[in-house]
């Protein structure tokens, strides 16, 4: 039996999630035994023609070219898994959604007419059907291996959608919100990192996007009680997952208080 063909694609992103794959040092050899790494420019120049059994897609859709290319990737892939906050929520570059792209393009570039770009940074699933979305900025190595194992074995991956607090308590960390008054997005953020930041007495930054049942209004009230100003609350929801619906909506709720912005373009 021939090994399934794996392809790794990049759109608008920093390559950090692909690096997470390369960082799976001990597992790369067994992985190469199970799948044929057919397309992975970050790691090898060798190109094996499609179609591919499994495509991992990093990055968000930000240009007209991306729009075409993601359609091609989808057509060439039996299964398509998006990896990272860019591919699953638009990434940090989705901050453009809250601003005027034409305006800053004309300020930043000497020849803005050469820069072809879309007004929004969108997740892959906004354009083509996606079989599984793996969250994180960057993704977690253990979770990536779980998804790959599941794909290879033909089973469902074990990727819980509950809060970071689950992992925080399992790890035995003292809650930084309750014991220190440190603002933490853990209660509204999806688990996956192993509650890394609270383990180092930092609040969670929300790298894995909204958990399954995110009560962002309640955590925003807590952040305010712990001393954050409206504009700070707005900013904590506008980082790597600014475009994730629950975080986007909560950030917009604090625009008036922060005295900025006007929500996503085209919205009343």
């Amino acid at each position: 039996m021939s090994r399934p063909k794996l392809a790794v694609w990049k759109f608008a992103s920093c390559d950090g999630c692909q690096l997470t794959l390369l960082n799976c040092e001990d597992e790369l050899i067994p992985l190469a035994g199970e799948v044929e790494i057919a397309y992975f420019p970050e790691a090898t120049r060798a190109v094996v023609e499609g179609p591919y059994d499994l495509s991992l897609v990093e990055g968000s859709i930000t240009t007209p070219g991306d729009l075409e290319r993601i359609e091609q990737v989808r057509r060439a892939s039996r299964r398509l898994v998006t990896i990272g906050a860019c591919a699953t929520a638009g990434g940090i570059q989705a901050l453009r959604d809250f601003a005027d792209v034409d305006e800053f393009r004309s300020i930043v570039y000497a020849h803005p007419e050469y820069v072809e770009t879309l007004g929004q940074s969108t997740p892959v699933a906004a354009h083509v059907p996606v079989d599984f979305e793996l969250r994180g900025c960057p993704i977690d190595r253990g979770q990536l291996l779980e998804v790959l194992s599941a794909e290879i074995q033909g089973r469902a991956p074990r990727i819980p959608r509950h809060s970071v607090c689950f992992e925080c308590k399992r790890r035995g960390t003292v809650c930084v919100t309750v014991a220190h008054g440190t603002p933490c997005l853990g209660p509204v953020t999806q688990a996956g990192c192993g509650a890394l930041c609270p383990a180092y007495e930092r609040g969670c930054y929300g790298c894995f996007g909204p958990q399954d049942t995110p009560n962002t209004a309640s955590i925003a009230a807590r952040l305010r009680r712990d001393g954050m100003a409206e504009d700070e609350v707005l900013r904590v929801f506008r980082t790597f997952n600014a475009g994730a619906e629950a975080f986007r909506r909560e950030s917009v709720r604090h625009e008036a208080g922060a005295g900025v912005g006007r929500g996503r373009k085209g919205e009343p």
């Binding site: 509950h162 003292v174 014991a179 958990q211």
Partner: protein
């Protein structure tokens, strides 16, 4: 055996005696701004001079200005993670040339090394009365109808040194639940020794009550003096003062019926506006016992395994069945938790699932208070009844 008295050096001798018998001694210590349980070898690791301030959603250590070793209320975690680890390997299966093998792997394999739980048998030092009651409840649940062998083994091997609460927290209500503040034989899990810390009058000392042969043996290894009438009176005074200083109250009379009748109450929707569905309450609750079973494989499919991990009724997928989630809304999850804890538990196990430790109140980032919500339900029911 008559009560005895030891001093701080005697507590060290007690720790040494337990270590010498091969126990891993797990006791309270200060880490990251809170009292947490950890393996200890010295009295110096105990939270000498530390107390705490606890409120809904808030915990702060407070310097007491004295030398008390146990002058704080319930810590960040109970004994639960020691006997009922957050993750446990149930079995591993390996592919072989002619099939596969299944082995019950060494249960400590995947344990994180920063948590107690790696080196049984344990001696627990400083278990509070509420937590003793909670261990008793978990014993009923986990060694009852379908005994959990690993849990039962850890429990049977454990040595327990209980302690009387002297300075209850702002979220404590063990007097309401009848579970504290002083350990009593026959109430909750059995224990071997019980300490009551006496700061005054007289020298800093500990009354030691002996409740098992094992306890008598260990105490026999270390020097102690017989307790005087004044010592006994001082210990009673500590417990009496603690009982009068509960931060919270829970009216338990008719609570089961009240909750069963409140299934459609608007209170649940109100809680849902605040509840984060984060599961901190169930993680810190010393009696919550729900778990999930994870099946895992490696990349090559040559190793498969089943792990048991802590789960919570606040997880949306906890109630996932074919066709969808039974408890999709956060309000229905909070209702499930509170109704099970305070009502259905009684029908299921013959006792309430709440021991009044206050942890779910203190460690809730949204400051949701089970005693307050119970009072609101009661008021609402009374108002309904008053209607013509």
């Amino acid at each position: 055996m008559e009560p005895r008295v030891i001093d701080t050096a005697g507590v060290q001798a007690l720790v040494d005696a337990l270590l010498a018998r091969g126990y891993t001694v797990v006791g309270p210590t200060v880490r990251s701004g809170a009292i947490v349980n950890a393996p200890i070898t010295s009295v110096e690791q105990l939270p000498r001079g530390w107390g705490d301030d606890q409120e809904a959603g808030r915990y702060r250590l407070r310097g007491r200005g004295d030398d008390a070793l146990f002058g704080f209320a319930s810590g960040a975690q109970s004994a639960k993670p020691v006997f009922f680890p957050t993750e446990e390997v149930l079995w591993r299966g390996r592919r072989t040339p002619d099939g596969f093998t299944v082995e019950a792997e060494d249960l400590q394999d995947d344990r994180r090394d920063d948590q107690p739980g790696a080196d049984a048998p344990y001696a627990l030092l400083g278990v509070r009365s509420c937590d003793l009651a909670a261990i008793g409840i978990q014993d009923t649940v986990l060694t009852g109808r379908r005994p959990d062998a690993a849990y039962a083994a850890r429990r049977a091997a454990a040595f327990v040194v209980a302690v009387t609460c002297s300075d209850p927290g702002g979220t404590c209500f063990c007097v309401s639940t009848g579970t504290g503040p002083r350990p009593g034989p026959g109430r909750g899990a059995p224990y071997d020794l019980a300490l009551t810390e006496l700061l005054e009058p007289g020298a800093h000392r500990f009354l030691v009550e002996v409740t098992s042969d094992r306890g008598a043996e260990v105490l026999g290894d270390i020097g102690s003096t017989s307790a005087t009438a004044a010592d006994l009176e001082a210990a009673d005074g500590v417990a009496d003062r603690a009982a009068r200083r509960m931060g919270r109250e829970l009216e338990t009379d008719g609570l089961k019926e009240l909750l069963y009748a409140a299934a459609e109450s608007p209170v649940w929707d109100d809680v849902a506006t605040r509840c984060l569905a984060c599961a901190n309450c169930t993680a810190v609750c010393p009696t919550c016992f729900c778990t999930d079973v994870e099946d895992v494989t490696d990349l090559t499919g040559s190793l498969a395994g089943r792990n048991r991990v802590w789960d919570s009724c606040f997880d949306a997928d906890f109630s996932l069945l074919h066709g969808g989630r039974v408890r999709a809304s956060t309000g229905s999850r909070y209702r499930q938790w509170m109704t099970h804890k305070l009502a259905a538990w009684i029908d299921q196990f013959g006792m309430s699932g709440c021991v009044g430790c206050g942890r779910c109140i203190t460690w809730c980032p949204a400051a949701i208070d089970i005693t307050h919500e119970a009072a609101v339900l009661r008021r609402e029911a009374a108002e309904q009844e008053a209607l013509p």
